[in-house]
Symmetry: C3
Amino acid sequence: MKKTFFLVLPFLFLWTSTTIASPVVSDKTQECLSCHAQVTPGIVADWEQSLHSRVTPEEGLEKPALKRRVSAKSVPGNLLKTVVGCAECHTLRPDTHKDTFDHNGHRIHIVVSPPDCSTCHPEEASQYSRNLMSHAYANLNDNPVYHGLVDQVNGTVTFTGGKIGITPPGEQTNADACFYCHGTVIGVSGMRERETAMGEMAFPVLSGWPNQGVGRINPDASKGSCTSCHARHQFSIKVARNPATCSQCHKGPDVPAYPVYLVSKHGNIYSSLGDTWNFTNVPWKIGADFTAPTCAVCHVSLLVAGEGDQPEVVAERSHQMNDRLAWRIFGLVYAHPHPLSPDTTVIRNKAGLPLPTELTGEPAASFLIDAGEQKNRTAKMKKICSNCHAGSWVDGHFARFEETIRVTNEMTLTATKILLSAWEKGLAKGLAQNDSIFNEPIERMWVEEWLFFANSTRFASAMAGADYGVFANGRWYLSKNIRRMHEWLDLALQRKEETKK
Amino acid sequence: MKKTFFLVLPFLFLWTSTTIASPVVSDKTQECLSCHAQVTPGIVADWEQSLHSRVTPEEGLEKPALKRRVSAKSVPGNLLKTVVGCAECHTLRPDTHKDTFDHNGHRIHIVVSPPDCSTCHPEEASQYSRNLMSHAYANLNDNPVYHGLVDQVNGTVTFTGGKIGITPPGEQTNADACFYCHGTVIGVSGMRERETAMGEMAFPVLSGWPNQGVGRINPDASKGSCTSCHARHQFSIKVARNPATCSQCHKGPDVPAYPVYLVSKHGNIYSSLGDTWNFTNVPWKIGADFTAPTCAVCHVSLLVAGEGDQPEVVAERSHQMNDRLAWRIFGLVYAHPHPLSPDTTVIRNKAGLPLPTELTGEPAASFLIDAGEQKNRTAKMKKICSNCHAGSWVDGHFARFEETIRVTNEMTLTATKILLSAWEKGLAKGLAQNDSIFNEPIERMWVEEWLFFANSTRFASAMAGADYGVFANGRWYLSKNIRRMHEWLDLALQRKEETKK
Amino acid sequence: MKKTFFLVLPFLFLWTSTTIASPVVSDKTQECLSCHAQVTPGIVADWEQSLHSRVTPEEGLEKPALKRRVSAKSVPGNLLKTVVGCAECHTLRPDTHKDTFDHNGHRIHIVVSPPDCSTCHPEEASQYSRNLMSHAYANLNDNPVYHGLVDQVNGTVTFTGGKIGITPPGEQTNADACFYCHGTVIGVSGMRERETAMGEMAFPVLSGWPNQGVGRINPDASKGSCTSCHARHQFSIKVARNPATCSQCHKGPDVPAYPVYLVSKHGNIYSSLGDTWNFTNVPWKIGADFTAPTCAVCHVSLLVAGEGDQPEVVAERSHQMNDRLAWRIFGLVYAHPHPLSPDTTVIRNKAGLPLPTELTGEPAASFLIDAGEQKNRTAKMKKICSNCHAGSWVDGHFARFEETIRVTNEMTLTATKILLSAWEKGLAKGLAQNDSIFNEPIERMWVEEWLFFANSTRFASAMAGADYGVFANGRWYLSKNIRRMHEWLDLALQRKEETKK
């Protein structure tokens, strides 16, 4: 291979202020590159534009605390003095990965996992393990209520002899739908020969692949995929900090953080001026690097403010992401204080259901953070807001937001009462009949009340993007849908009476 | 405070062609900055990137007419020779602002209002006072019909004893919904002590705050908030001219200007090439500064074309924004010629309703601009189009648009006739029964016909973004919805007949 | 005219690496410019920023094969040595254009057509003639089934005497809706005098104008408009390659390629890093010029990879666009192998309907590509994917996609069975009654099942943008809609029984 793969470096010097010595690539990685520069040139070129290709862990460790991107206290000696290339990650901990295979004399694995990354980034991996997202697979799949929703949404519905039937969704379908974001289980079922540019070679056969879902179950049994946000081989912090990255899973009506952000004043300013911001500085400096928050500003990044070499830390880096969030506004069925454990399968309400609230809204308090912790979290968030907003602004915003939680929960209760009435009067089949609570039209209307309209109204309130919370997907539908549910109930009752005659 | 707050200047020199002398900050503002650089560093950093922080009104007044951003003929002497900082705006006209309070020996107010801004920008403030937006609060709140819509959309719906009830929305809820864009009333109810980084201090207690709605009622009783578009303390013309800024209130299905723009050829080109355009030049030069219009190009900005120092003025700056619009395509209930007065609460149709048309579509002509004025406005708009399009193109576009107004109004009439029939036959309760005309499902269908589908179809036509006007939110629903309304009517009639038996 | 129209050139030197000699403008074009720099300054300024204004065909022909943007083997001598200006295109082939007219002593035509462009770009024009899009007008208008859909979507619905009627849409309405994208027929009906800045002049009267639809029928009877993607007079390859350009016609729920792309990881990366990519290089180099694909990467552009002067060609340029697509996932009514001919009006299924499948899903195989060609096309696409993804990733993706095609087709079949049952039982009027199959509410539900929900689910699968394919517009609705159709059927049956009593 000709030494041309650093041709992009001159350009890179323009956008990073780091002075970079000639990068030292390990012999093993050189060997990978010698074929892969031809076989997968896109991967190699992407990596060449990464910090990984230009900085050694040793250099990373030497940076002052606030500027460090490497959270490890130390890194194994054999990794210290070369840049982080193919071999450095894809040969780590070979015995723990079920997808490890022999490849040109090396034992490599396909799916790099959080424990691999934690060799240099242990704090981030540890924080992320406390993030609800890291448990997103089981939290959906192993909760019988939510699993029932998956089956009804993704299953194949049939119509035979005038009757509706349903075939549960296959693994491929689920991987293409809910588990695309929640994460699949990556299975390994032997090896398969494949014709390649370098001749015939054997590779592991993976199921649930590809996937970059946040709660992916990796072949080493670990949870999560750092690549969900730190995408592909450039591992660009600019990508991770860009709101578009969050939109991968947060654009739909169930969790519409991204569309709400875009119509908020924060989003307006980002869309107008973001091209002049610095998305790569660590720490990230309020006002100097950006003049309006993105998702990462409020929920993830290490933020500083002030002047000189010792700026004040406004917010610590967090990959838990909910440690500044008092409320889980993603209602299941109601908005509620955030769960104590990222593993929500342990939750049981008083009725014995695996839900964080009763069907009538009371929180399953012993599984959720208490009022004191809610207050702490809100205070941490307000500290960020206060860099750009006075106290009356910030307090006014949060008071309004809490009222929106109250009102949307009340609307959800109203919808639930109508559904309970339908079940009770035998107009639909629900929990008591051991029937799915997500299949009949009236049940779908109920789900939309909380999953789409209440959630959307709350996101719009939380992030001040009201345009989304009224006519786009919020209060208009929140109230209209109840009227329609009530009309449905009235008609169904009337029909039942007539049938009796 | 160390003198570091102009560190960003070298960078700013790159994107502004203005030669800037060393900025003179007033003593008062220096005093503000001495604390606020630490207390609200984001605000200070944002302001440092503004023209306000670098140009004095005196310098602004000296510019040649076309390049001026200051429309005042003169500015009070005490403001002339320092840049426009904290104190310059937040201490103006202290006796007129109910939120004025003593703060470290100064009488400052929180909410800067259009009359404050008009110290230097009187033309813009005056134009804006003729903009429908400046009256957006009362036009919604004080119109009994529209107020009824707010109540039904935002109210809390209950279900008790098999019956639906509704609690009218509270002030917080309305501020979080319709009035987020229309503007709230900012009230002042005394003072409250608050712990700050500088010790305990007293601040005014504001209601309806925060808000940056276009028709905000300020503590000095004035209307509007310049910050709706000239956001935060950078007051960036780049932000005001960016279509994303308009999306704050114009993205939903009721006034979908932004999504329509994005799928129009204008929007395509903006999305592709906008990164190379100049968004800050005044005047704004067609072809040189941009090669496709944004919202501001057609509706607001001072436009020139041609060569040399004396380019031709294509369009005068307008903060009235509708002076090139013949039609108000935001149907209430029908599209109609623009109202004469920005205060639309004065309008009464022949039936005595506060609507710009009859329920059957005839315009309340005496409150609306006449055909001559419509022609004038269209001619002004066509003058802009004609810089990039030949006459046959422009005329063809407007002929098609007028046909779309006719057809969508006709579709609205059809939906209205179905609703009137439902009321008349006692299948729903409407005006005659003194019942809300926005609560029952059939009434909601009717509202969607005009507020969502007819409006969307018209916006798509006006701005040539047809993709939005067919399957996304337009003609498909416009025709489908009428079919569903008719089916509803048929079934309701049939049910009524059966009940009689 | 002063010689100022190349003032923008210094800036252009920054973003193009081409060394540009002093451009030679033909005398004829100079004559055009002498008026039009004042009359349509936006057009002139846009053109000045184009390559057309700076490169002669002769220079274009001299480039090495891979770098050529001119595909002609030779260009007529009179066009060789001047840049491509107004006169070069608008006076070509005057006798073939019905809109040719005398204008200041020249015979010019308004609508430049693909045969005009093919003077220098014959390969592209030829490829495009095999693109379904080039036949988009007749494929919609001359297919009686689809034409019936247009009539029902765009027609004016009336309500008189309790009965629904429909007036078919006029030409203006259709041009403002479906045919905005599909293309209109540009008709010429004589000349009209018009007052201009240069005095009174006569211009052709065009119908169906303006339009830039992909299958436009031009006054020279040719099909298509290059300006659909190569917009306006800058003919910017950056515009053509930008995903926003495709959004003009591919954002709605029927063909939601753009919203799906944006939530895919590809789109996330484009949104985050696209500002650092090179959108103008020819050939387009994977990894170096961009690090994630846009629409053009996978479907249109000449792609290379590797190092040095002889990079490997990964994909040939294609304006056919479907030559790497095995499936037409835009279901009509079902997803099916791509049609053999771009003229789909020739297709007849066994039932005699002009549809590519039976109503029950079996493909009209003789009009569609066979399994071998499907395999070839998928292999070509996989070759692109393989630059950045390993074989297991790529194969896994396509296996999942094919399963999604199977499942969504099955769901479409279920919806169709319910509709057929409704027709059969006399609950709605369909084919047998010679009634529109697109007017009644149950028929509209059926259309939404395949045109909106099945299509959206497939696009989300094909392009890995699952967020759009579940709650935004996919599987949630796919399953919910069938439940609602079934409820409708049940109620309609019950009602019929009761009426009999």
